[in-house]
């Protein structure tokens, strides 16, 4: 392996060097006397001294070394190192908590350095997973050690962590909010899937519907979400005041009803567009042969057109779902509930850790859904065709 000819892995190398700079140059943690006052930031050397800080640079330099000579064996070592460093991040927080926090009201905040390093290390993980051609499943399994380390540190040493404090103050509420969020997204995506597929089928049959439909959906998409909630407020309030069974259902100008309507409205365009394009794009020669062989219209649709279109339709569902997860956060503004509630509460109280408590799970949910539906699309692409 001495005679490895390929040049340095530039991606991994730059990720490593930028991450090292962030690690040593930015505050890794901050400590505040209580929830309200702004905290003081601490760089690595301010926590463990200049000598210790230099020592922490060593694994980074090793990583850079592996990136410089990216033989397969080196990349495997780099992978192990990246996973270890990810697992060490919670331990660093624990160490900081133990050394820096003395008062019971004091809180430990996660600094820009840790966030930056976390982000860059995850990118490095993706790069290594691609280079080493590891399976999707193994890629996910690599996250288990860091997660285990985080869980252990939270349980033992991270009592003062601000994010943890915010969570412990509302753990019941938190689970409820996740549930509401998922319910809103699920119902909105489900409804727009049913409506969207129906609309796409109608558009394929009647060209008139196609023009009008796309025109309307495109227009809908250009209205900012807050404005759309506002626009829905008056008519829904009127409906709930005048139609008894609607108000009995809980429909009103604010709350889940306008949120759901708006979410479905925004979700329709990507859903319809992908479904329509997917169904249209099936090779006409294949359809011609299918009909020429004596398949009925229904058989052509179910056995040929739909299965061939399915990966692109799933892609539409994926885009729609990820978009809806983000939009649902905004829906908290009109009292629809969900994780957005924490974000807006946090903004109101200038408590950034509360904002994070809402924003982080939204980010994670979006990533998770993206990965799951992406994997499903791959599985459904039969024979790896096209």
């Amino acid at each position: 392996m001495r005679l490895e000819k390929s040049g340095p892995n530039v991606v991994l190398l730059s990720l490593t060097l930028v991450a090292l700079a962030a690690w040593l140059g930015l505050d890794t943690v901050s400590v505040a006397a209580n929830r309200i006052v702004p905290g003081t930031g601490y760089r690595v050397d301010e926590v463990i001294g200049a000598g210790g800080a230099l020592a922490t640079a060593l694994p980074w330099l090793a990583l850079a070394g592996f990136a410089w000579r990216p033989a397969r064996r080196h990349l495997l070592l780099a992978l192990v190192l990246v996973v270890l460093m990810l697992s060490a991040l919670p331990a660093w927080l624990a160490l900081s908590a133990v050394t820096l926090v003395d008062a019971p009201q004091a809180r430990l905040g996660i600094g820009a350095g840790i966030w930056g390093v976390l982000f860059l290390l995850l990118l490095a993980l993706i790069e290594l997973r691609t280079r080493l051609v590891l399976s999707r499943l193994l890629g996910w399994a690599l996250l288990l050690p860091p997660l285990a380390s985080a869980a252990l540190c939270l349980a033992r040493w991270l009592e003062p962590l601000a994010l943890w404090q915010e969570y412990r103050g509302r753990s019941g509420q938190f689970l409820g909010a996740v549930g509401e969020h998922l319910l809103l997204v699920g119902v909105a995506v489900g409804a727009s899937l049913v409506l969207g597929v129906g609309l796409a089928l109608a558009m394929r049959r009647w060209p008139g519907v196609q023009k009008a439909g796309f025109g309307m959906l495109n227009f809908l998409q250009t209205i900012p979400s807050i404005a759309l909630f506002g626009l829905l407020l008056a008519p829904l309030a009127w409906l709930s005041a005048n139609v008894d069974w609607l108000s009995a259902l809980g429909v009103s100008g604010i709350g889940w009803a306008p949120a759901l309507l708006a979410l479905v409205g925004y979700s329709l365009l990507p859903m319809v567009r992908n479904t329509f394009v997917a169904l249209e794009a099936v090779n006409p020669g294949v359809i011609d042969a299918a009909r020429g062989m004596g398949m009925s219209r229904g058989q052509v649709f179910r056995q040929v057109r739909l299965p061939l279109a399915l990966p692109v339709i799933l892609e539409g569902i994926r885009i729609t779902t990820v978009q809806a997860i983000g939009l649902t956060a905004v829906a908290a503004l009109i009292g629809a509930g969900g994780l957005g509630t924490f974000i807006f509460q946090g903004l109101g109280q200038a408590a950034m850790d509360l904002v994070l408590l809402g924003a982080l799970p939204i980010l994670l949910l979006a990533l998770l859904v993206d990965a799951l539906l992406g994997a499903l699309t791959d599985i459904l692409r039969p024979g790896g065709a096209e």
């Binding site: 011609d288 020429g292 009925s296």
Partner: protein, 314 residues
């Protein structure tokens, strides 16, 4: 077997096929040939009702095609097209078994039929049955397309430029295979092409179309000898007609029995065409060839004068 009687097809105001009448006898291979856009595909697709004709009548076995359900009609006819139209999400074996499954044959019978057809078209079962269409070469894919068209053993085969996208060598070997298959299976075939060499090589009955009309039809040799007009003549190759005709005639038709003279050094098989014989003469600078049978035994001789059709030889 197939009769088109004064059939016309209009798309809006445009007339794509204009009052054509055509009969294809059972077991005959009928080729529709003409420049692109002359209405060949439209004619073919009217026979299996992928396109409905506007006027006239089309009969299969003396029954109007409109008397059948569309699907029933199509399942009786094989259909092969230039783009193959193989289903990309199905394996080769599943593609071939399509029509038998539509006809609800029992599973074991479908499986047996698929194996039989793959053998017939030279597709090794182990190598190809589980492959997907995108893993095949153009020639292999087209073989699968033909196997699929033959699957339910239909009497009628409709083929729309099936070899049009292949390289010349693959195309020629598939043409030879089709002729060979046809000599065993005796299907009634309507074959569309714009390639006159292909048409002449395959046709029992040749139909020349131009601007939606049939300008001439008959046996290929008859058309070569007496083209109806300048268009047919130019389509048949103008000055090249002599070579095209020679390509249709076997050496055995012009050879003489072995005479008292020494055998000529250059040899030619008795099933070769006169065109091939002429080529050998040109290439070898030989005026006489010894004609040999399949076992390479001399059976006659062919002189240049005989080849070009001069009656007496001395």
């Amino acid at each position: 077997m197939i009769d088109l009687i004064h059939v016309t097809k209009r798309f809006g105001d445009a007339v794509a096929v204009d009052d054509i009448s055509l009969s294809v006898a059972r077991g005959e291979l009928c080729v529709l040939v003409g420049t692109s856009g002359c209405g060949k595909s439209t004619t073919l697709r009217m026979i299996n009702r992928l396109i409905e004709h506007s006027e006239g009548e089309i009969h299969i076995d003396d029954q109007q095609i409109r008397a059948f359900r569309e699907e029933t009609l199509r399942r009786r006819m094989g259909y092969a097209i230039q783009s193959t139209g193989l289903f990309p999400h199905w394996t080769v074996a599943r593609n071939i078994g399509l029509v038998p499954r539509l006809l609800k044959w029992p599973k074991a019978k479908v499986q047996a039929r698929v194996e039989e057809l793959m053998a017939l078209l030279g597709l090794a079962m182990e190598a190809f049955a589980g492959k997907y269409p995108h893993q095949l070469s153009g020639g292999q894919a087209q073989r699968v397309g033909v196997a699929r068209a033959l699957a339910a053993d239909p009497d009628i085969l409709l083929m729309d430029e099936p070899f049009g996208a292949l390289d010349p060598i693959t195309r020629q070997s598939l043409q030879d295979e089709l002729r060979e298959l046809q000599s065993r299976l005796h299907k009634t075939i309507v074959f569309v092409t714009h390639d006159m060499d292909e048409a002449l090589r395959l046709a029992d009955h040749l139909v020349v179309m131009h601007q939606g009309r049939i300008v001439q039809q008959g046996r290929p040799l008859a058309l070569l000898r007496e083209p109806a007009d300048g268009f047919v003549e130019s389509l048949l190759g103008g000055e090249d007609r002599g070579l095209k005709e020679a390509a249709l005639l076997p050496v055995s038709q012009r050879m003489l029995p072995l005479g008292p003279r020494l055998l000529a050094r250059e040899r030619i098989g008795q099933h070769a065409s006169l065109r091939e014989a002429l080529s050998v003469m040109l290439w070898r600078h030989a005026e006489r060839l010894t004609v040999v049978d399949d076992d390479d035994l001399p059976v006659g001789e062919l002189s240049l004068r005989r080849l070009v059709g001069v009656r007496s030889d001395e």
